[in-house]
């Protein structure tokens, strides 16, 4: 029999990225707080392997602040179910963890959106953030030719990162039309930190072409990618490469809030001014309420942390800053909206669901996600639609389905023991 661990906290924070860290920092002085993350260390996607970091890194002050609190850190826990009132179940290598709470703060972040095009399943075609994470975990890219393509501010950050690790970044290709992006560039004048960051990336990427309004149409190669053809609608261009780092901006990880019954609006969790979701005692912060990047996550996390412990006054003091961050998020959403041409990228034979090898032409015969799932197995594999769900929503306009436990694949005994009536109670 494997271990069974039970905890109760006043405030339980799910997600150890910036929003979760800020929430824990704000709540911890006034409550018993735990912060839970599925990775071996805190930091989330953006601060992966840089928490703790050098003091000069933006995460430095937050690391110090969290250190000074009594917040418990629970690493390597994957939350898969919400089986009872104020209770979550998580799996760790040692078995089931039962987490009880009075207040819950969800900061589960976002993942990259992948859109299928011919060749996107070739080896070494990897998500932009995914490749960055692999390099942080030790994948050598020195001297490798890498094309970075897709959409969103992440592309520039990843390209700069790859270059700093010795990669030869062949080009950065952003699908957003130049006019759409120019409008965004003008609007970020209101956000000086964003400008300095953009300038910094551009400086680091001097001599790397940044092609705005270009998108990938085909990746070529036998067993792995050897080149990629891109277009701007009028012209085509083929670039040789060893890696194609490709992601189309971000989609929120709303599985857990949806399982808890939180209302969603346009795919994001709906929250009030104190970051409270529609379900009592549940607060949400960061990318799951709208893709807005680091500043929005830190501010919303702080507000949620304060509000969850009744500190409404410091929470309110952050409203003005949050409004600004929300303005930036809205501008970003407009700027990096995927262009309709991307719906025409997959060929009839192009795989859309990688887990179950389901081709575009099969899916086109269906009129709903459920119909496609039941009749083609699309989304039925180990990723449970996390990869293809965002693509099918964009390609075919299918909204997702209601969610059932477990929200992540979990060992049979973990799920079976999870339901065992607790003899102690």
């Amino acid at each position: 029999m494997r271990n069974r661990n039970e905890y109760t906290y006043d405030v339980l924070v799910i997600g150890g990225g910036p929003a979760g860290i800020a929430a824990a920092c704000a709540a911890a002085p006034h409550a018993r707080v735990a912060i839970v993350d599925e990775n071996p260390a805190l930091g989330g996607q953006i601060w992966r392997n840089s928490f703790p970091a050098r003091q000069s890194h933006p995460s430095g002050p937050w690391h110090n602040r969290l250190q000074q609190t009594q917040a418990t850190r629970l690493h390597g826990l994957r939350v898969f179910d919400a089986p009872a009132f104020n209770t979550l179940h998580a799996e760790a290598p040692d078995g089931l963890h039962i987490l009880r709470y009075n207040k819950l703060i969800l900061a589960t972040g976002a993942r990259e959106r992948f859109l299928p095009f011919p060749g996107w399943t070739l080896r070494n075609v990897i998500g932009a953030g995914g490749l960055q994470a692999m390099v942080k975990s030790g994948l050598p890219v020195a001297g490798k030719r890498i094309v970075v393509a897709g959409s969103g501010p992440l592309l520039l950050a990843v390209a700069a990162f790859l270059k700093s690790h010795g990669a030869q970044v062949v080009a950065v290709c952003e699908q957003a039309p130049p006019r759409q992006l120019a409008h965004f560039a003008t609007s970020i004048v209101a956000y000086p930190s964003k400008i300095s960051q953009a300038v910094q990336y551009r400086t680091q990427l001097a001599a790397v072409p940044y092609r705005i309004g270009w998108w990938p149409v085909t990746a070529h190669g036998k067993s792995q990618v050897e080149s990629v053809t891109l277009t701007n609608g009028a012209r085509r261009l083929t670039l040789d490469c060893d890696f194609l780092a490709c992601g189309f901006h971000l989609v929120p990880n709303t599985e857990l809030p949806a399982l808890l019954g939180c209302s969603l609006h346009n795919g994001f969790v709906a929250v009030d001014s104190l970051q409270q979701a529609s379900v009592p005692n549940v607060f949400c912060a960061g990318e799951i309420t709208g893709i807005g990047g680091l500043d929005k996550s830190l501010i919303e996390g702080s507000i949620a942390g304060y509000a969850s412990t009744g500190q409404n006054s410091p929470a309110r003091k952050l409203f003005a800053k949050r409004n600004k961050a929300l303005g930036f998020a809205a501008a970003m959403e407009r700027a990096f909206a995927p262009r309709p041409e991307l719906r025409r990228l997959p060929a009839p034979q192009t795989t859309v669901c990688r887990c179950e090898d389901v081709a575009h032409e099969l899916l086109q015969q269906h009129d709903s996600w459920r119909s496609a799932k039941l009749h083609t197995r699309c989304g039925m594999g180990p990723c449970q639609g996390r990869v293809c769900g965002a693509a099918t929503e964009f390609l075919y306009g299918w909204p997702g389905e209601s969610i059932r436990p477990p929200i992540l694949p979990v060992r049979f005994d973990t799920l079976a023991e999870a339901e065992k009536p607790t003899a102690q109670h």
């Binding site: 179910d81 089986p83 009872a84 709903s368 459920r370 119909s371 039941l374 009749h375 083609t376 197995r377 039925m380 594999g381 180990p382 449970q384 059932r404 436990p405 477990p406 694949p409 979990v410 060992r411 049979f412 005994d413 799920l415 079976a416 999870a418 339901e419 065992k420 009536p421």
Partner: protein, 377 residues
């Protein structure tokens, strides 16, 4: 708008699809009414086990006949229907259940079914992941499995290519030769077949059909982990109980290599969300028989509603109170197995074609009691 046809089939689950196919093949003009995904109700929630069961002579005749129909149809099914014949092993935990193995064997043999009694050793040889120490089992090698939504869609496509039409609307009312649809259209037909499964009473009030909720769990791919459909003989007790919630060890190898795990039965459960307590009981029961399953990864759980009748036999044939209304529901956990036979019986009843088995045990009239008797009870 209103239109006429020879027969209206309400519901495109596997039973409705089979009825539509048979009637279309008989030359009738058929309209199928289904607002949702084809085979998206209990059909999608079921295991797709095509099994001969012998709770009663009528059940044995019906399941055996229908299984033979599936065997004949199998070569025409699309690969995505995942039709396979792994056989069933009825697992006996102890010597008392071995007596049940002997009883079952004698009955199955009289029908010419290929069966083999397994002792404790032979059982482990067939299924190495079962717990050692089980008494044995009965291997019925003709039992099959398939993937029901694709099979239902295949049957419906057969109907459509024989001239049937499909209307993607919900029916709000049915009877006296008319079906009223959600969009206001009225369909007229002297024959309306209610094949709505557990939802059948919504259009035929007073029908003695009750939802019996079930849970299923599916694992990630683990090819060869289970080789036959394995069902504990205690299942008969579980499935037979008319009122109490119950669980039974019931696992199935899918063609994908995944393991599909049942089964649970609950009355008076109308909420389709996963019930953690019964799910836990079901999974604990599975672990008792198959401890090695602990290390497999669970991908998904879901629920569905079987259409249960008091005597565990389906309702197939005319509604006693409305000569235009026909029923094809009440199949409980055997809707996939007996869909094809149901289609044949409906065809026989509506067209007078010959029938290979007697229809009387399944006629709905048996389940409707005169009101005086009900009041008396």
């Amino acid at each position: 708008m209103s239109s006429n046809c020879d027969a209206i089939v309400l519901g495109a689950g596997i039973v409705g699809a089979a009825c539509a196919m048979e009637l279309a093949h008989a030359g009738m003009s058929v309209t199928v009414v289904e607002p949702g995904v084809i085979g998206g109700g209990a059909t999608a929630a079921g295991m797709g086990h095509i099994v001969v069961m012998d709770d009663s002579p009528a059940q044995l005749a019906f399941t055996h006949y229908s299984q033979q129909l599936w065997h004949v149809l199998a070569p025409q099914l699309p690969p995505a229907a995942e039709y396979e014949t792994p056989g069933t092993i009825w697992v006996a935990a102890d010597e008392v259940e071995m007596q049940e193995v002997a009883r079952k064997q004698s009955i199955y043999v009289t029908r010419g079914l290929p069966v083999r009694v397994l002792d404790s050793h032979a059982l482990l040889h067939e299924e190495p992941h079962l717990r050692p120490g089980l008494a044995g089992g009965l291997l019925v090698s003709s039992d099959a499995v398939l993937y029901p939504p694709v099979a239902a869609d295949y049957l419906l496509q057969q109907a459509l290519s024989s001239g049937a039409s499909l209307i993607r609307q919900a029916a709000l009312q049915a009877g006296e030769g008319k079906a009223c649809l959600a969009n206001g259209d009225i369909l007229s037909s002297p024959r309306i077949i209610n094949a709505l499964g557990a939802a059948a009473p919504s259009l035929a009030p007073g029908l003695p059909v009750h939802p019996r909720k079930g849970h299923l769990v599916i694992t990630d791919r683990a090819p060869g982990f289970v080789r036959h459909q394995l069902v504990e003989l205690g299942y008969v007790r579980s499935a037979g109980s008319g009122t109490a919630d119950s669980v039974a060890f019931n696992v199935q190898p899918r063609k994908t290599g995944q393991v599909l795990i049942g089964s649970s039965r609950q009355y008076n459960a109308h909420d389709k969300s996963v019930d953690h307590q019964i799910l836990q009981r079901m999974m604990q029961q599975t672990r008792r028989y198959m401890p090695g399953i602990d290390k497999l990864s669970v991908l998904r759980t879901w629920t569905g509603f079987r259409a249960a009748t008091p005597d565990k036999l389906p309702l197939i044939g005319p509604h006693p109170a409305d000569p235009t209304l026909f029923l094809a529901t009440g199949h409980e956990g055997l809707g996939i197995t007996t869909a094809l036979a149901t289609g044949k019986l409906i065809r026989h009843i509506l067209t007078g074609s010959g029938s290979e088995i007697p229809v009387e045990p399944y006629l709905p009239a048996r389940a409707f009691h005169p009101t005086t008797e009900t009041a008396h009870a």
